[in-house]
Symmetry: C3
Subunit: 129 residues, 3 copies
């Protein structure tokens, strides 16, 4: 079973918790056991799994990514978002989460984050269970 | 078929070769062909596949990660492990390995490494084949 | 259905667009729906999905990886390719792409890139659909 989730981001770089949207799709699918592949079909956005309890964790991850690949730092790609492409590859374009009894099996503190690196934009996330 | 592997790490940051444990689970499952998803349900640990023959490779990877995201470098997250969360997202929370004839299909030098970034701790790795 | 794709790289570090080779294998398999796991069985090469329209994007990604993990920068691993191993783990060893109606579901600008970090070499990419 597959489908997509739409979202809107509101700043240039942010991490959006999409865990409950993905869980809702898993529940709707009726599938009890399997692996859920969550895929970002964009080249200036990524996806990662990390802590959702304290928003400072996302802040620190984004700050570090901006430090490792700062915007407008003499890149060859002329669209002003070379750093966004680099960040996307560092985070990756998909995550795989095990599904059991119709639930995403995540650790206690884990949330699935869509990583916007060139927003604000309308974005899409694909999934297949 | 799914399950989990328990492990204990012994220092703050280390890479633990879990290849034989994962292979044992694949063998026990009786599954001959498929994809084995190995998943880390923690937010201060990751997983990667790299060279296992020379331990210096892991040493260099960990040293570089400490250089890119040093501990206690003015982060906002106040638990003293912001760097661990960043390292976890840089490595990723899962790997996918093809299984054929009941064997993980890895390259000659490849091993699967659990990456501890905030140990020592008792940890768990989930798998689904 | 599984198999492998052979390729030759021509310089030390480069990104090779393998999208059409992977799509050809998906088409040949006759499989209409699923997930295609593309796996690199090497420890000094990785795989990523990013923009294929402007080659400057790959140039910027590779330049940044060389900046984050420069060759011969006092590593412990003595084979002269410690940086290649680090880059491989930063990019990852596999990607998962959703397949529908026999087509890889990629975003408009997305291409699948084999990332050579210690070439030139003869390399192999494994896939399972």
């Amino acid at each position: 079973m597959s489908g997509s989730i739409n979202l809107k981001t509101s700043v240039r770089i942010e991490m959006v918790d999409i865990t409950s949207s993905v869980q809702k799709e898993v529940s709707n699918s009726g599938i009890k056991d399997g692996v859920c592949t969550v895929y970002v079909p964009h080249t200036t956005a990524g996806i990662t799994i990390n802590e959702g309890a304290d928003p400072s964790v996302c802040y620190d991850i984004l700050t570090k990514l901006n430090e490792l690949a700062p915007p407008n730092a003499g890149y060859k790609h002329m669209e002003g978002n070379a750093d966004s492409h680099i960040k996307a590859s560092l985070m990756g374009s998909s995550v795989s989460v095990i599904v059991e009894n119709g639930r995403l099996i995540l650790g206690t503190w884990q949330k699935i984050f869509f990583c916007e690196f060139d927003g604000p934009r309308s974005r899409r996330v694909l999934f297949k269970i």
